[in-house]
């Protein structure tokens, strides 16, 4: 026994506690059940104490954390259910099936609440898939294991491309078949994820409040009904083996723990569930995910304050000789567990027959408050449901990671690279982290259900609600480099950016779901990152008055002792009264005035520019001024809803220049701008600017539409000689990153009214120039940058396929 509990991932302390609860040595079945229910994945034993910090209440909240998904009221007799969940470890082992079943699992969470899924989103992280323009960019691992794994780097680009391409195919393969549009998402490539890719899937569903069903079992004597797929050996122990351990050389051996998805069965499951829910046939409903029947049954019993008896011999099997403990913990996909009254049972059975789905009574609700497992009438296990569902928590003392800096680095310590500003701009616009995501979202059905108003590729996707005419804006955001450099500021920034993105479309942020991807929580620095990131998120959510209604935690994202960047992924839901009144990111009409909202000082630390051109991720990211952020977003939404704006685009990765380039590309029109109004990067640079500006030769790219070779996507131009004295840092103004900034365009006749609106609210608004021509022309300090739209488009559109070696 002793060896077995350890193999199952239980500590000796936990094993002692189990014996204490049981009053004897646990049986084989009991040990298997405890090991899964008390795993990090099911029990949240390291994260629960921190998660309490997140605000989860609000006037709109119909269901907070703790159910299959959270639910908020959106008016008009409708509510939205949403949740995001990770499937990182399975995807690292078998990318297609790992990602596919991740989507399948989150879809079940949504329709288990009675909601019809209306869209999915994703947030992905992989190792680098192509070389960086500067050598030595690979991060070296931190000795305290708090981030930036270098181990996987040796695996090379091919493995990362394989993971990425198959994860995308898996997400599409499942979602497309289900008829759920995948409308938005994000993907970043950083060496820190090379040993541990991240696959977070989010789904949003619509439900009438009266049709919401919950998972609390009730009614002694009611049937416990298992329906959907048959039960097999796939995914046995997935929750403990995969999700709650670090990876090492045995990665390949873990493949049998990955489940295989069957979206066709899930589609039938979706339809039959919604049909039966409309008719009110269920007392309670719960999907089977991690730990299969074990977690579903014990959670349903614990929530209902009742007991459940399961008869494993009644479970329809794929393989006949499965042991009771295997049946209890199998993670076979596309299964649901329901509590049904004897009176409704015939209707439930008939509906499942109509859809050719297995539907079996596998147990009953009791008054024992215990989960009892029988096989051919023989008692195999008998455990208190509450204890199972309430894993013992343990928090490791936090220790600040060694790499965290107190101050931003002095830009003077980064001499401008030997490249023209045009070359740098084209490199960033085509970088895998910034380039067009078209290659990804054209593999997803993003239109089915006919609600997608603003297509993928925008700050946030916008869906219409057919029933009410309202608009739902959705996005996922999370910058791992930021949370790595400062988890508190990074957590804040993730919520702020997500809210900014839905505000750019014109929607008001009303709810958050979140996925926390971290390393091994048994290590002090990881515990520190987890608690600080959650604190930052909590403060931001409070400032916006937006509740966190659901979420998921994925820990042990480490390989060979090195953790991923601590990665907070925020899924934001925004609501607008009229879907037709919205804004997109592309410039529209020549002559429109381009305005920068916000005046935060752009910095190098944690930026894409720093990573690509200095081969470093270091320093300290700026802190979001939440007060300013809330006011700016309020003005932004007001302007969109008053029809003042022609375009609005969040200014994030790649800085101001990349944001402007993206708005030009999205609109298919150029811009002429002058940046002297923009606040300079840092005191140091400002001081040096005046002196050095004059003697810095202005590098100017040729105006003729260049069609660059794939490997060098830049118009040829003389390199800037690196000045010995600190030069005017136009590069920092163009490519430095800062929060709380949005680039908008307004018609000339509206500009005055808009400026007045901003001034009245105290939102800094700087005229940058106008929409014009077929090139992006920027005069910055002494420098002039001109890049033809054609060259920008070439770099932006081919960036991802080129990095994948496809074009």
């Amino acid at each position: 026994m002793t060896e077995l509990y350890a193999e199952l991932g239980l500590t000796s302390g936990e094993y002692a506690r189990i014996k204490e609860i049981q009053g004897r040595e646990p049986t084989h079945v009991e040990l298997a059940v405890y090991s899964l229910m008390w795993s990090e994945h099911c029990g949240y034993k390291h994260s629960r104490p921190f998660l309490r910090r997140l605000p989860s209440h609000g006037a709109r909240v119909l269901q907070g954390p703790g159910e299959n998904a959270g639910i908020v009221d959106i008016g008009g007799g409708l509510a939205v259910a949403m949740k995001i969940e990770s499937h990182n470890h399975p995807s690292a082992v078998e990318p297609y099936q790992g990602a596919a079943t991740g989507v399948g699992g989150i879809l079940r969470d949504i329709f288990a609440m009675g909601a019809r899924p209306i869209c999915s989103l994703d947030s992905l992280r992989f190792g680098e898939i192509a070389p960086l323009p500067r050598a030595g960019a690979a991060q070296s691992g931190q000795e305290d294991g708090s981030g930036a794994a270098s181990a996987g780097a040796d695996a090379g680009f091919d493995r990362q491309r394989y993971l990425f391409e198959n994860v995308v195919a898996g997400i599409g393969g499942y979602g497309n078949c289900m008829g759920i549009p995948t409308v938005a998402g994000e993907v970043y490539f950083e060496d820190a994820y090379s040993g541990n890719c991240l696959v977070n899937a989010m789904t949003v569903g619509l439900v009438r409040p009266e049709n919401i069903v919950r998972s609390a079992a009730a009614g002694v004597g009611n049937h416990v009904v298992l329906f959907g797929s048959k039960t097999g050996r796939d995914g046995i122990g997935g929750a403990s083996v995969l999700a709650s351990q670090e990876f090492d050389e045995t990665l390949e051996e873990k493949r049998p723990s990955v489940q295989v998805g069957d979206p066709f069965t899930e589609k039938k499951l979706l339809e039959v569930c919604l049909e039966l829910l409309r008719e009110g046939r269920f007392v309670a409903l719960q999907d089977l995910g991690a730990a299969g029947i074990t977690s579903s049954a014990s959670e349903m019993a614990a929530k209902g304050g009742v007991g459940i008896d399961i008869h494993t011999d009644r479970v329809p099997l794929r393989e006949q000789d499965m042991a009771p403990w295997e049946i209890m913990i199998s993670e076979s996909q596309e299964r649901m567990l329901a509590v049904v009254t004897p009176a409704e049972w015939p209707e439930v059975k008939a509906a499942c027959d109509r859809w050719d789905l297995d539907c079996t009574i596998v147990g009953e609700v009791t008054d024992t408050e215990r989960l009892r497992v029988y096989h051919r009438g023989e008692l195999q296990g008998d455990m208190p449901a509450v204890e199972l569902a309430d894993a013992p928590t343990c928090v490791v003392d936090a220790a600040r990671p060694v790499h965290e800096a107190d101050e931003p680095l002095d830009p003077a310590s980064y001499p401008p690279p030997e490249a023209t500003l045009s070359e740098i701009l084209l490199d960033l616009v085509g970088s895998p982290n910034i380039a067009s995501r078209r290659w990804i979202w054209e593999q997803y059905d993003h239109q089915v259900q006919l609600n997608t108003v603003v297509l993928p590729g925008a700050d946030a996707a916008l869906l219409r609600v057919k029933e009410t005419g309202a608009g739902l804006a959705v996005c996922t955001d999370g910058n791992g480099r930021h949370t790595y450099l400062d988890p508190y500021r990074g957590g804040k920034a993730a919520v702020a950016e997500a809210a900014r993105n839905v505000s750019c479309v014109g929607a008001e942020p009303i709810a958050v779901t979140n996925c926390l991807n971290f390393g091994n929580p048994e290590k002090g620095p990881i515990s520190y990152q987890l608690s600080r990131a959650i604190e930052g998120m909590a403060e931001a959510c409070e400032a916006f008055g937006v509740p966190v209604i659901s979420g998921n935690v994925s820990l042990y994202n480490e390989s060979f002792g090195q953790a991923i960047y601590p990665t907070v992924v925020v899924g934001m839901l925004g609501l607008s009264e009229d879907f037709a009144v919205h804004c997109t990111s592309g410039f529209k009409t020549e002559g429109d005035v381009i305005v920068l909202l916000g005046d935060a000082t752009p910095g190098l630390d944690g930026s894409e520019y720093q990573k690509r051109w200095y081969g470093a991720v270091e320093g300290r990211i700026p802190e979001v001024d939440l007060e300013a952020e809330v006011v700016l977003q309020g003005v932004l939404r007001r302007a969109v809803n008053d029809g003042m704006l022609r375009s609005a685009h969040d200014c994030s990765d790649g800085g101001l220049a990349v944001t402007l380039a993206e708005s030009c590309l999205a609109g298919g029109v150029g811009a002429r701008l002058e940046f002297d109004g923009v606040s300079a990067p840092t005191a140091a640079a400002v001081a040096s600017a005046a002196s050095a500006a004059s003697d810095t030769p202005a590098p100017t790219a040729p105006d003729t539409p260049a069609t660059p070779a794939p490997d060098t996507p830049a118009p040829t131009a003389p390199a800037t000689p690196t000045p010995t004295a600190p030069a005017a840092r136009s590069d920092l103004t163009l490519f430095g990153e800062a929060p709380t900034r949005v680039v908008v365009s307004v018609a000339p006749e509206t500009a005055t009214a808009f400026r007045k609106l901003c001034a009245g609210a105290g939102v800094p608004a700087t005229d940058l120039g106008m929409v014009a021509g077929d090139a992006l022309r920027m005069r910055v300090g002494g420098d002039e940058v001109t890049v033809p739209l054609a060259a920008l488009r070439e770099a932006h559109e081919t960036g991802l396929p080129r990095a994948l070696g496809i074009v």
């Binding site: 195919a169 599409g172 078949c177 008829g179 593999q443």
Partner: protein, 240 residues
């Protein structure tokens, strides 16, 4: 064609297990006041006197074995082909097209997209024929924008049927560029001769990979598909 006693045009939308565009077809038709769309269950055997039968897009039977290969054996398909043999109007969209070829109600077969990736994007189509109930409101050579959304849409056929298809002018839509040029670059999936949609010899059964039901509202996607449903409605109400 079948006599329509009601003033409204009855569209019977067949729901197979795994269909996922039946709601969209019904919603799109609901934007036409003259249309009366309703669902048909694949296990039924009565079409309930439709004017038009629609086989919607999706993944009937999970595309297992081959796209459309299992759906063609659904009980209702017998009634559908009988309906077609009497001249009834049948429209197969995407998976519906795949089913119609598997059921040998249309020429050819489907291969996986060249590039072996699922594709979902807006697509230009050139109208090749307007003497069908599906295109009578259109102009020959007109370019319409209708999205494609499939993994196995590379239509192909043997040289004999290809000849027959050319001789009898069975091709109704071809993939083209914005200016109506039939180029390889404008071919999203590698279909032979850029074929996007074909009819049977009698002209009463149309299969097309693009999704006209997705473009019937200016607020969402555009209106490139309205003329197709409009043609059907006018044909049924006013006759050829």
């Amino acid at each position: 064609m079948t006599e329509s006693t009601s003033k409204k045009v009855r569209f019977g939308i067949v729901v197979f297990p795994g269909s996922n565009c039946e709601y969209d077809a019904k919603h799109a038709l609901s934007t036409f006041p003259e249309a009366d769309p309703y669902y048909l269950w694949h296990k039924d055997d009565d079409l309930r006197s439709p004017d038009v039968v629609i086989l919607p897009g999706g993944f009937s039977y999970g595309d297992y074995l081959r796209t459309g290969a299992i759906a063609r054996f659904s009980p209702l398909m017998g009634a559908v082909s009988a309906f077609a043999e009497t001249g009834g109007l049948v429209l197969g969209i995407c998976n519906g097209f795949q089913i119609l070829t598997e059921a040998h109600m249309l020429h050819g077969a489907m291969l996986r997209n060249r590039g072996l990736r699922f594709i979902c994007h807006s697509q230009h189509l050139r109208v090749e024929r307007t003497d069908t109930p599906f295109t009578s409101d259109m102009r020959v050579g007109a370019v319409i924008q209708v999205p494609v959304n499939h993994n196995e849409g590379a239509w192909t056929a043997g040289s004999e049927s290809l000849q027959q298809i050319e001789d009898q002018r069975l091709v109704v839509f071809r993939y083209c560029d914005a200016d109506g040029r039939i180029t390889d670059a404008a071919n999203p999936n590698g279909a032979i001769d850029n074929v996007a949609g074909i009819v049977n010899e009698r002209g009463n059964v149309l299969g097309m990979m693009p999704h006209p039901e997705r473009v019937c509202e200016s607020a969402v996607g555009g209106t490139g598909g309205r003329r197709l449903f409009g043609s059907l409605i006018h044909h049924v109400l006013e006759g050829p």
